[in-house]
Structure formats: structure tokens, C-alpha cells
């Protein structure tokens, strides 16, 4: 009988500073790699400190025998994660959650709208999609952060900007001296997106307030509510539908989500 609460050990193989308060850690799983889908999450343990849910940020197959997580140090566990270094060990349970629909959106144009620390879950999907680029139509990525230093995956953003087979836009709420790009919240970039909503699906992830405004604009642009797909953030303890914290009606964000279409969110009474 499997014990769903028992973490397996994982070794930190690299640590990268993304922003002043965000780090990416790659993990080698001691019991061997597991299969996962973009949009799924893991429960990360530091024994003695606790456990917290974090999305897997690496594209499927991107990290050999493991995964990458991108963590903002805000809570007890995430701040403790920031103190760790290469070769340290942590506990991992998962992968949990439903993940993004990937095969279901093949053949469609895809718009990604991310804000701040909302990019990591989408980046897992973006890399998964780009790994089979020919299966999808036009691709557009829109990303915003508070300041230029809050942008995560800076090297990858440059690589996306250089690609000819996708449209990439980035903005910051407040610029600094070196910034020459767009200034303004992420929704200010949406009018410049060339994708036609008719045969497109939009994925959005970011702070709840951003998601609310993005959804309003996407609906105005003509996206159907079933074609707007987001991930819900909820306080959760177990990740497996038992602790009850993430329940909305009879659904559990950890089991039935965290990925939901806006249509589903409306049906669940979440806005």
C-alpha cells in the first residue's frame, strides 16, 4: 500500500538566482524521475520546517532524472528553500493536480499571458509546446513584472524574443535606468497581440488581481470562456484531496485543478 504523505528524497543539483527574491532549483529525484504534465505541482518538504505546494517549472523531459522548481521566498518553507545549496536534500511528493490540456489544444493558436511569479507554471507549458512547435498554430507570449529585476528566466526571455516562430512581448510596471522596453501593466500589451481569438486558446497565470483583469480583456477580445485557461492558487496541505483547505464546492483545487477554464471557474462560483 502506497503512503501518499511520505515524501521521497531529492537532491538539489543547481541553484540559480532569478530575481532578488526568486530562485530556481533543479532537483534529482532519488527514487528516479516521475512522469508529469505541464501545470502539475509537487509538495516540497524541508523536514522540520514543513511542506508547501510548488509548480514544476521545467518543461516535460527538460531535466534529466528530475525537475526544476522556481520559488519566491515568502513563507516559512520557501524562505528556508532559499537558504539551501547544491547537494542539500529535500522531500518531494507528487506530481499532483490535473495539468494543462496540451494534446487538446494541438492545432490551435496559443496565447500565454503571465505576470511576475506566474510565469514558472506557464513556462513549463511553453517549453512543452515549443518542444513540439509544429503541432501548434501561431504562438504569442505576453509577460509582465513589477520591475525589470523582477523578470524571471531572463536568458530564456531573450531566446524567446529572438525566435521567429513566436510573438513575444514583455513589460514592467515601473522601469529602471537600463530599461528601454514597454512600461505598463500586462493588459496594456494585449491589444498588440496578433492572434485571432476564433481558433485560439489563452493560458494565463499570475497574481489573482492580474488574472481578473486579463480575463476581462480576453473576453472583450472575443475569447470564449472555455478557451481561457488559468491555474488557481489555494492554501493546501496535502495535495491529494484530503486536507480540505483547497475545496471549492465539492471540487478540490489539488485534484480537479489547479488548471481550470474560466467557464469552469464561473460554474464553481469563483471569479
Amino acid at each position: 500500500m502506497k503512503n501518499i504523505y511520505l515524501p521521497q528524497l531529492a537532491q538539489i543539483t543547481s541553484v540559480k538566482d532569478e530575481t532578488p527574491d526568486v530562485k530556481s532549483l533543479t532537483l534529482k529525484l532519488k527514487d528516479g524521475a516521475f512522469a508529469y504534465k505541464a501545470g502539475q505541482f509537487v509538495e516540497v518538504s524541508i523536514f522540520g520546517m514543513g511542506e508547501c505546494p510548488l509548480c514544476i517549472s521545467s518543461g516535460v523531459g527538460q531535466v534529466k532524472d528530475g525537475i526544476e522548481i522556481t520559488v519566491r521566498g515568502v513563507g516559512t518553507v520557501t524562505r528556508a528553500l532559499h537558504e539551501l545549496s547544491v547537494d542539500d536534500e529535500i522531500g518531494i511528493r507528487g506530481p499532483f493536480g490535473n495539468g494543462f490540456p496540451v494534446d487538446e489544444v494541438a492545432g490551435k493558436d496559443i496565447l500565454f499571458v503571465a505576470g511576475g511569479i506566474g510565469l514558472p507554471p506557464l513556462r513549463c507549458l511553453i517549453n512543452t509546446v515549443l518542444a513540439r512547435r509544429q503541432d501548434f498554430g501561431q504562438i504569442s507570449i505576453v509577460y509582465g513584472a513589477r520591475t525589470p529585476s523582477d523578470l524571471v528566466y531572463k536568458d530564456e526571455l531573450k531566446a524567446w524574443a529572438a525566435r521567429q516562430d513566436l510573438e513575444f512581448q514583455v513589460t514592467v510596471d515601473a522601469k529602471d535606468d537600463g530599461w528601454e522596453g514597454n512600461v505598463g501593466v500586462v493588459t496594456t500589451l494585449l491589444p498588440k497581440v496578433t492572434i485571432a481569438p476564433k481558433n485560439a486558446v489563452a493560458f494565463t497565470c499570475g497574481p489573482p488581481i492580474m488574472i481578473r483583469f486579463v480575463i476581462i480583456d480576453l473576453l472583450k477580445m472575443g475569447f470564449a470562456s472555455r478557451d481561457i485557461i488559468s491555474t488557481l492558487e489555494r492554501y493546501m496541505k496535502c495535495g491529494v484531496g484530503k486536507c480540505g483547505h483547497c475545496a471549492i464546492g465539492h471540487k478540490y483545487v489539488c485534484l480537479d485543478g489547479p488548471v481550470f477554464s474560466y467557464q469552469q471557474l464561473e460554474e464553481m462560483g469563483e471569479e
Binding site: M1, K2, N3, I4, Y5, L6, P7, L9, F47, G48, M49, G50, E51, C52, V74, G75, T78, D88, E89, G91, P207, P208, E233, R234, Y235, K237, C238, V240, G241, K242, C243, G244, H245, C246, A247, I248, G249, H250, L255, G269
Partner: protein, 381 residues
Amino acid sequence: MQAKLLPEANLLPLLKRLMAEAEVIGPKRTEAGDVVFEPLERPEEALHHDQYVQSLFPLKDYFFPQTEPLFKVRLEKGAAPEPIYQERKRIFFGIRSCDVSGIRFADRFFLRDFEDIYYRKKRDNSLLISISCLEPGPNCFCVCCDGGPTLKQGYDVQLTPLGEGYHVEALRSRLEVRQNPTVPGRACTTSQVTPLGEDCYVEAGSPKGEEFLNAHQEFFLPASQEDEGRKQDGLAGVDQKFERSTYVAYAIRKITRREVADEWWEELAQRCFGIAGCRYVCPTCTCFHVVDLRDGKECVRQRSWDSCSFVGFTRMVSGETAREKPRDLLRRWGEHKLNFLYLLRDGRHGCVGCGRCLTTCLGRGDTWNIVSRIRELSQQE
């Protein structure tokens, strides 16, 4: 399996035997006068069925303890967590139908999708011997929720008291059987036979229950058709004795269709003190919190009961709280107990009608009050 009869005289010898085989959890009265299910130290401690209706707490603490260690781990590199399991064999004697219904609901919840091994081990090591209620308590409304007073399924063994005094002919033949040493396993002596004692009609509701009856057959007699008739007669009038007897369907419909207005919940929520008493005494409430307890070089990860009535229950690290208005916290309770979607998912709706929330709640935010006040809405329609 054919039903059995448990002569009252065999009850204490049976309990004595069970206590030699496992820990027996039975109904006891505390010095303060409360009824609790605790390990029996002597068979005589077990309350007779007419000495109690409802225990202070349901039995969930035995399967999903208020605090429960999940694993321990040494705080050093390479140390893997070691699970901590409780695998004591337990027999639960004299539990009420509503509590069996509550356990069945929790079974569906804990054992579906990702199976909870801690719950599974405790359930596998348990035997549920329930007893049908012939007299409801003042706050009972199981009859409105398919939670009792007697059960068609869910128990391992169900006892139904048959009332005092029975047919002389049947009595005589049974006395003969009891006194005949050649009949295998006749343990009781003539002096233990109480002709006017209260026998129980005994049914097995699971393979585990059948196995139990087979292994202890010397304590039971075959039940006759007449006994079954007496059982039915005894139960026939029970439903009418409930003070609270209207089925909860209307409230289920209104809540499931989200036809109960925010303002309605808001008004009721003003009466909620947010103490979570209802959640703690509810057999179907199963939310928990998890903490790591450090002790020197070791850490124990422990879960403990939590409650959706607490504002912090859904507070995220970002500072956002998914549910914080009193009305939403109360509605969450109403939804879990009465939304039809739980019936689709867990086989029944989340209220078994034990009435403990009603006993506990100071502000009358309990399920019964929700049900009856929603019913009042129907008169306004």
C-alpha cells in the same frame, strides 16, 4: 447469512470474550455524566442500549485522530522518513447507526482517489457492531437524512433489541438448547438465562461481520421468522418518535441550485461564533492541518483536525484569503453537509443527522437550523 439472536444473558460473556481478543470500545458514562466511547475495562461498564442515545463525540477520533503522527525523520542528510502506523485491533460495540453512516461517508472520502493509508489501516483493524435505536434523543434527526435509526448496510454486525418478554414456546425451546451440553459451544449456564431479558436480533452486514458471527457462534442462536417479525414490529413506530422528522430534500435542492441568497447566509452567520464546535463533533468533517514538530535531531510530521470555519483556513502566503466573510464560512458548512454533488461523489450527502452540531452550537448555526430555516423559505415562494 441467516440472522442470529443474541440472548441478553450471553451479552456479558460475549463482551468478556471480545475483550480477550481485542481492544473493545464501548459506550461508557463519565463521572460528569457524559456518554463516551472508550476502551472497556470491564464488560459491565458498557451501557445498556436504553441508557444512552448519543455519545458526546462520534467515533472519528479512532480512525482519524485529533492529532496523528504521520512519520518521523532524523534531521540529517540521507535520512528517509519512516511512517508511524497504528495497527491495534479494535472492536467497536454498541455504536449508533448515525455514527456508522458517518464512518461510511469518511470511508468513501479517505479511501477514494489517493488512498489514505493511516485511515485504511485503522479501518481494516476495526469491527463495527452497531445497535439500532428504538428511542431517539431530543436532537436526533437521522430519520431525515438516511442516517438511522436502523441500518440496511454499512455495519459489520447490527444488533436490534427485541423488547422484553417473548413467546413462551420460543423461550422454552431456546432454554432447552441452552441447557443442552451436547449442542456445541453452549457457554451460558441456566442461572445466566434471564427469561424476561432483552434479546437482540443480529445481522451481519459484511464478510467481516459474517466471519465474526461464525467465530463466536456459541453466543448466538439462530433467529426465527418470528424474531424477524418482532424486530420489524419494534422498529415500526420508531420513525414517528422523532421530534425532527422532515426530510432534508428541500434544503438539499436549494443549496445545490445555489438558490439560497447571500443575505440569508449573512443573517444566519451573525449568530456564528466561529468556534468550530460543529466541525469537531461532526462525523463527516475531516479537514486537517499539518505541522512538523522538531525534537532535537528528529522531526515528527503530524496532522491535526482543522476547520473551514476559521478565517485562516484558506489564507494564502500572498495574503489573499479565499473565504473570509462569515457568510461564506457558514455556507461552506451548509454545502458540505447538504449539497447534492457530495451525494454523487461520496454516495450520500454529508449530514447523517446525529444532531451533535445542534447540541454544540451556541448560535444555532447548526445543520438542523439551516435545514429548517431554508424550509421556511418554501412558504414564501
